[in-house]
Symmetry: C3
Amino acid sequence: MKLTFVLVHGSMHDGSCWDRVIAELSRQGHAAYAPTMAGHGAGAGHFFTQADCVDSVVDYILERDLSDFVLAGHSFAGIVIPNVAERVAARVNRVVFQNAMVLEDGECIYDVITPEHQQMFDAILKKEGDRTNWMLPFEVFRERFINDADLETAREVYARLKPVCVYSQNEKINMRGFQRLNVPRSYINFTDDIVLPHGEYAWYPRMAARLGLCRVVQKPGSHEVCYTNPGLLAEALIEAGRP
Amino acid sequence: MKLTFVLVHGSMHDGSCWDRVIAELSRQGHAAYAPTMAGHGAGAGHFFTQADCVDSVVDYILERDLSDFVLAGHSFAGIVIPNVAERVAARVNRVVFQNAMVLEDGECIYDVITPEHQQMFDAILKKEGDRTNWMLPFEVFRERFINDADLETAREVYARLKPVCVYSQNEKINMRGFQRLNVPRSYINFTDDIVLPHGEYAWYPRMAARLGLCRVVQKPGSHEVCYTNPGLLAEALIEAGRP
Amino acid sequence: MKLTFVLVHGSMHDGSCWDRVIAELSRQGHAAYAPTMAGHGAGAGHFFTQADCVDSVVDYILERDLSDFVLAGHSFAGIVIPNVAERVAARVNRVVFQNAMVLEDGECIYDVITPEHQQMFDAILKKEGDRTNWMLPFEVFRERFINDADLETAREVYARLKPVCVYSQNEKINMRGFQRLNVPRSYINFTDDIVLPHGEYAWYPRMAARLGLCRVVQKPGSHEVCYTNPGLLAEALIEAGRP
């Protein structure tokens, strides 16, 4: 069965992070599209809201008249794809979260991260305000985001990242429309992803538990498998996205 | 070392679910037997008690005079094999639980499932009583039981399932005899089995912790690996079952 | 990139447990050294302190003038390598814990093991005092330490183990120096290691959470992967140890 995917990147990334995943999906006969959200890629460094991100993905879908697709989101995109799904519900077969945020109605990202990360953001907010752009230190990226890569790959991927507006961590998200939506959902858990550290604050099973009936697909790999193992990520997307 | 297995199926299944596992075990020189429990297979749709299940497996073992074997049970069979082991203790080398219920003395299945599943059974019991037969909806089977299969396989396996009498969820089990038994035990955890969702109510480590000294074997795969990956299940059974 | 490792064995073991791992690392062009700690190997059966263990590893490093290396420790060695790192800090590039104890300042091993194991040690201490040597029963070793091996391998490895002085379980460790040290750290979690049973008392993520910013590498295998899968352990050491 041939599938169509709309793949939505995470924070600091842009649509190009999916390039090698799309190549693998295409090789297997599937179609895949990877929009870059507002405030990311060429638009990085500017203020943006979650609504801007949602609009940019919805516009991308409508411009191309995409339908009958799997809507997948990674990391930060977990707060974007539920509202995209709500807006273009008739076009979406399934929503797939890959180590992605799943918020309760009215929550923001700040509410679900560890106390240590909250303190870090508190310090930034106090000093620079919520319109400032923030960049992850390399050391943290290397150890927690791309723990399965060698140093050279870690540096290459880090060089592609762009700062993100701190406002996005504190914006409360409306999840009521998505919660009412009867769209099938899957959660992909890469088991070496320690961006949210394993245990109480982990991606999985915590975030998947918020989705109700949900197919789970697990594979070994870090937060940056789009770079470190794009073939396995393609496999996970197919297993999670098929009917 | 050549092993002999008695493999006991889970709820809604019958002995034939092990066919491809047995073929793989045989190919490697091991012997394996797979009785169908009372109230399952051809007997599905009738009222049965846990004692009926135990009797049918014990009878199967005695009729064939099986001994020196590994007694393995999947899912629901976790409430059957402890009492089988107690009844034919001298014949059993080891007891193996594969993503199976392990109850404390006097518990029933209802006591260990999630509050959501309890509410579902409460509604059935209130409406139809405990002698009614119940069938898992396909949607739940596809997402939670056989998450590692394609849709065609999911449909084929679902077509083989038979309804189960709700009474079996509420029957309290005597575990005192098994707890006194000094038989070695193993727990096989297929890490993508989300029939009991990962977290507080998960199969593993929760159920294994109730077994005391216990060998653990883990492999990737869903609740239905007997169908989706029989070769890997055979491997797990050998690793769990050998001395 | 070619790496140098100093590999520190766990309790009951000696430096020779790394032989096949070192062979594999060497084959890939890396250098590796495996000292035997005081009170272990030929010195087993004698009283020793944690300071003796630290001294013996530091002496080994200084005698060979090793520098620019990854300091890795398994199991019990987790209470030794932090103080070694503190003593020869300028020589150590990274500290790697492989299913190893990570203590808080002033804790002893007894403080972090399960209540069941605490009771077992209480009984030994009451009966024989803390200078007695204690040997793990084969049955426990076979099921919990080397659950991924066949019986023959389990027996061969067990025959190599030596008793350990019970005092080492109760000695409080000074971790303040290590905590101030800015050395990168990694945690290797072999996911089938049930020496500390999975759940509340598990090695991972509990011990890794005590290390702050920490790279995590996970692989399938038991506590005794140095024997059951030395190639995969070498791979894990490289992934955990590289810059």
